[in-house]
């Protein structure tokens, strides 16, 4: 039974093959004869000659012409010298397999030296690509349609409007259809013959924040600054420039000079050159050279030369001002059609509004992510400093320790996702241990002398930093984020945020929730708050203050370790990374209000948003933004010494 089935299938296959076998191609549909008509041009193509050939071939509407031109352009077509026929060439080991253009059958396998490969240069390829666009726009494969759209956006011109408009109707893919419609708008806005179509296309581009749309509108509204004696009649003037407000007098005079309407002004350097050329017997125009260190004497000497006729007359002091006043300066649209430029300007204005809105959104995202970084770095400190009153200068080194823990884990576990999942709790454990050890050995002896914890922990800080340098070296170590954290959430061309920053934001939120839960809802939190408010009373209630202090310090340090892993993911891991955060972290805690998790959140938000806000005014200078931010913090503390969220009543202590 199985055998019979198999037999039957084999027979059916053979029958099918016989039926499907292409017969001799019908003469009027065969491409080869049509190609032979242009054999010379096709065999040695040049950019100038190929265009008419390609257009003629396309007009003849052969079913295979699209594929032929594509493969021809890709240098996959060869010519056999004996009979001048064209073939597709396919690789067959050392030989070249010749494939018939019409039938698609392999004809022969020959050495590559027996046929001539037709080498199309890039100019020819461009011509062919452009000619193919209308064909490709309706190609059955999505990729080819997409490539055709790319080709249009690279080099748009008027001839593409018609085929594009026609292909929009036939497009079935929704996303490609919107892209085609947008591209059509872009083309119409620039090249449409029908003014109504062009105006409506321009209006439709308003509010579109994509770079292409803005580029088109900017091209339409491009201006040149010109100068003339009077405003030219009928010119499409964008605006008249006021000397003094819109441009300086010096810049205006420059324009006059470059428009050949005025002589270049004499600079002091030029004056010196001229004088140096006219030294006669140690004198210039009768003035001794020794006196020429005085600018007034130089002018005197020049005027003497001028009177003698050796040098051209000098411009009068107010000549430049008069020349500028006599002319009118204006921006002129390069496009003469006022209606079009006005429409484009209006569209551009509405785009600008949209952009401004998006920029604010982007700024908010930036500020949010910076705030969450500050929050993460400072939250551990908020516990040790804010709740316990210990100035832990080594807090930054705990951050560094966490980051190096992540780095070491990655050395052992190559999978970034798993290593991250291992590193987070491990970093907590390592820094928790370090924190507890430090509290037990050093800090508990200093609770009565809070300022001196600063010195002792500073000592620990520089020791740890140098230790890290000795172990890991001075160069930055990478802490690589897993791929799923590597990308960015790009909402449009303006608003975007990297995934890792979103993750840090989420991490900050988790910490906030976790910490609030621990402090407000657990036994440990209750005891921590009791010990902070009044250790003696807490002890008499059966709480062991030593144990609580130890755990609290460990908790704060452990959180610093986790923050270290998070910070290490987007910044590099160095022995100095902790020191970069320590001052800012202290400021965050102080500005927010000591002894309060919400305060730290407020402080981090204020500092983060403020820094991004200042940066927005002068994006190139982040140092200036930081400077002003610190100055603001100094002033802020003057007016609210207890921070944003100030504790009141008994909890505030002294």
């Amino acid at each position: 039974m199985p055998f019979r089935t198999l037999m039957f299938r084999a027979l059916a296959l053979v029958a099918l093959a016989i039926v499907a076998l292409p017969g001799p191609a019908r003469a009027q549909d065969a491409l080869q004869p049509a190609l032979q008509a242009f054999a010379d041009d096709l065999a040695s193509p040049s950019r100038r000659t190929i265009e008419s050939v390609v257009i003629t071939l396309i007009e003849q509407d052969h079913p295979n012409i699209g594929e032929f031109l594509r493969r021809y352009s890709a240098r996959e077509v060869v010519q056999r010298p004996e009979d001048g026929l064209f073939f597709y060439a396919e690789d067959a080991g050392a030989l070249v397999r010749l494939v018939d253009i019409d039938s698609g059958e392999a004809v022969a396998e020959v050495s590559s030296r027996d046929v001539t490969q037709i080498r199309t240069n890039s100019g020819v390829q461009r011509v062919i690509a452009a000619a193919l666009v209308p064909l490709e726009l309706n190609a059955p494969e999505r990729e080819r349609r997409m490539a055709a759209l790319d080709a249009i956006s690279r080099s748009p011109d008027a001839s593409q409007i018609a085929p594009l408009a026609e292909s929009v109707e036939r497009e079935t893919d929704a996303s490609l259809k919107t892209r085609k419609e947008r591209l059509l708008l872009l083309l119409q806005a620039q090249f449409a013959q029908d003014r109504a179509v062009q105006l409506s296309a321009i209006a439709a581009l308003g509010g579109d924040t994509s770079i292409e749309a803005r580029g088109v509108l900017n091209r339409l509204t491009a201006t040149v600054t010109e100068v003339a004696l009077a405003l030219p009649e009928g010119a499409n003037i964008a605006r008249v420039l006021n000397v003094g407000t819109d441009l300086t007098e010096a810049a205006a005079y420059e324009l006059l000079v470059s428009a050949a309407l005025a002589e270049p002004a004499q600079t002091p350097a030029m004056l010196r050159e001229v004088l140096a050329e006219n030294i006669v017997d140690g004198r210039v125009g009768g003035v001794p050279v020794g006196r020429l260190s005085d600018p007034a004497a130089r002018i005197e000497a020049y005027e003497a030369l001028e009177a003698a006729g050796t040098v051209p007359p000098r411009a009068a002091p107010d000549e430049a001002a008069q020349a500028v006043a006599a002319h009118v300066f204006f921006d002129r649209y390069t496009l003469d059609d006022a209606e079009i430029t006005a429409a484009a300007q209006a569209a551009l204005d509405s785009t600008q509004q949209a952009i401004a809105a998006y920029q604010v959104a982007d700024l908010v995202l930036d500020g949010l992510s910076l705030a969450s970084i500050f929050f993460l770095a400072a939250i551990g400190l908020a516990i040790t400093f804010g709740v316990m009153g210990v100035i832990n200068m080594a807090h930054g080194e705990f951050i560094m320790m966490g980051a190096y823990t992540g780095y070491v884990v990655q050395l052992f576990i190559p999978d970034y996702t798993i290593s991250l999942l291992v590193a987070l709790p491990l970093a907590f454990l390592v820094t928790f241990g370090a924190g507890v050890a430090m509290e037990r050995s050093v800090i508990r002896h200093l609770y009565k002398r809070p300022l001196e914890t600063l010195l002792a922990t500073f000592g620990i800080s520089i020791a740890l930093q140098q230790l890290a340098k000795n172990i890991f070296g001075t160069q930055a170590r990478p802490l690589t984020a897993p791929d799923w954290l590597g990308g960015a959430l790009q909402i449009n061309d303006i608003v975007g945020i990297s995934t890792i920053r979103v993750a840090i934001f989420v991490l900050a939120l988790i910490f906030l929730a976790l910490l609030l839960y621990i402090l407000k809802r657990t036994r440990l939190g209750l005891e921590v708050r009791a010990v902070t408010q009044n250790p003696g009373m807490a002890a008499s209630m059966g709480i062991n203050p030593d144990r609580i202090n130890m755990l609290t310090f460990g908790l704060g340090s452990g959180i610093a370790g986790i923050a270290g892993v998070a910070i290490g993911l987007y910044a590099q891991v160095t022995s100095e990374m902790g020191a970069n955060y320590i001052v800012q972290s202290f400021m965050t805690v102080v500005v927010g209000g000591v002894g309060n998790v919400w305060g730290t959140l407020a402080g981090a938000s204020l500092i983060g948003f403020l820094q991004k806000g200042i940066e927005w005014f002068n994006p190139s200078n982040t140092l200036a933004a930081q400077t002003y931010m610190v100055l603001f913090v100094i002033l802020f503390i003057q007016f609210r010494p207890k921070g944003i969220v100030a504790l009141r009543g008994r909890a505030a202590g002294d």
Binding site: I279, V284, V289, S293, L451, F458, V583, T627, V630
Partner: protein
């Protein structure tokens, strides 16, 4: 007070024998170093080491100032190195301007037409600021041509900054840890400001070539180093005398009372803020002078010198030396900075443990850090505290 003004000096010195002892030791030290120096005496002390000694004396001076503000007045300022740096920048501006002016004038001397003052200024500006891509002299360099004005600025700039900052901070009763963090923020803001290229002090390039003193270029460095060493010793001696006098009288008692309990002093009717402001400003001015003497010996100043960490080091020196006694600050600063240069300069012999070789340039900071911890924990009175065992008070 009114009675003692007739002969305050005699009474002051006889009441404080340690001041006389210190000044005597300083004089002896200066004389010995002079006798051994390359530029004057036997040549046992090299010029570079002489500079290190001179710089150490400047550091001792700022440590004394720090001791007054922290050890006596209880303000843990983490900003005094900012004043020190401002003093350094103040003198550095004149040194750099005047030296560049000399170079420019020499190179322009051969020009066919003598240069105007404006041209000289432009040439100086483009020489100094080409490194940050500018050719214009910033307005803060407006006094740089005059040594007198610039010396005045060395006193005025740190003084005014301290006055304004202190007035703001003390007025709103920021105390303790918060004040420390506030002063640290001030230092951070200043160093960030100086790190910018467009603020007129050459960004992180700083000012360099400060060891060449204009007008004294014909003298060998060994002589100049000796002069600066003497000047530093004189400044330390005068500063020590000034502060010892300041903290010994009634003023000093009030200041120490503020350290111990600010509120009680306020309740007694003293205007606490004024006292703190005087102490803060005076120490800032002395810090600026110390910086102005330090950086011509160091030869270069850049914003990293003002970074907050240096001011913490200063506090640590004073703590190691012993707070609340001026000679303690001197001992602390001298010990730690000389040890630092000995260890990091490769002077200390490396120790071979067999399985590991301790290279001190790598391990010195670890040792220093642990040393801080040990001193804080076990010797809260610092090295100076040891003297208490020697000199038992009746």
């Amino acid at each position: 007070m009114a009675k003692t003004t007739l002969a305050p000096k005699k009474g002051f010195l006889s009441e404080n024998p340690s001041v006389l002892r210190f000044l005597g030791l300083l004089t002896v030290f200066t004389l010995i170093v002079t006798a051994l120096a390359e530029g004057f005496g036997a040549g046992v002390i090299s010029t570079s080491f002489l500079k290190v000694l001179g710089m150490t004396l400047c550091l001792c001076l700022i440590a004394v100032a720090m001791d007054v503000v922290w050890g006596y007045c209880g303000i843990l300022s983490l900003g005094h190195f900012a004043f020190f740096g401002l003093g350094g920048y103040g003198i550095g501006m004149w040194l750099m301007y005047a030296r560049t002016e000399g170079i420019v004038r020499t190179s322009l001397a051969n020009a066919p037409i003598p240069a105007t003052e404006g041209e000289v200024r432009d040439a100086i500006a483009s020489q100094i600021f080409s490194v940050v891509g500018s050719t214009e002299l910033p307005f803060i360099w407006g006094f740089a041509h005059s040594l007198t004005l610039q010396l005045l600025l060395i006193v005025l700039v740190p003084g005014l900054l301290a006055l304004v900052f202190g007035w703001l901070a003390f007025r709103s009763r920021v105390t303790g840890v918060y004040l420390s963090i506030l002063t640290q923020a001030m230092t951070l803001a200043l160093s960030l400001y100086l790190f910018q290229n467009d603020t007129g002090l050459r960004g992180n390039n700083g000012l360099s070539g400060l060891q060449n003193i204009p007008g004294l270029l014909h003298l060998p460095q060994s002589t100049i180093a000796l002069w600066f060493f003497w000047a530093s010793a004189l400044a330390l001696g005068l500063g020590y005398l000034l502060f010892a006098w300041l903290v010994s009288g009634k003023f000093g008692s009030v200041v120490r009372a503020i350290r111990d309990n600010e509120n009680r002093v306020r309740f007694l009717g003293y205007h606490v803020e004024s006292y703190k402001l005087v102490v803060f400003t005076a120490t800032a001015i002395v810090s600026g002078i110390a910086g102005a003497l330090y950086y011509p010996q160091a030869g270069i100043i850049n914003p990293a010198e003002i970074a907050p960490i240096t001011s913490i080091y200063l506090a640590v020196w004073v703590a190691i030396g012993g707070r609340g006694r001026l000679y303690g600050a001197v001992i602390g600063a001298a010990t730690v900075s000389l040890l630092s240069s000995w260890f990091t300069g490769g002077g200390a012999p490396n120790i071979d443990l067999g399985f590991y070789r301790i290279v001190w340039t790598d391990w010195w900071l670890v040792l220093l850090g642990l040393g801080f911890v040990a001193v804080t924990l076990f010797f809260p009175k610092g090295i100076g505290g040891l003297f208490d065992y020697l000199v038992r008070k009746p």
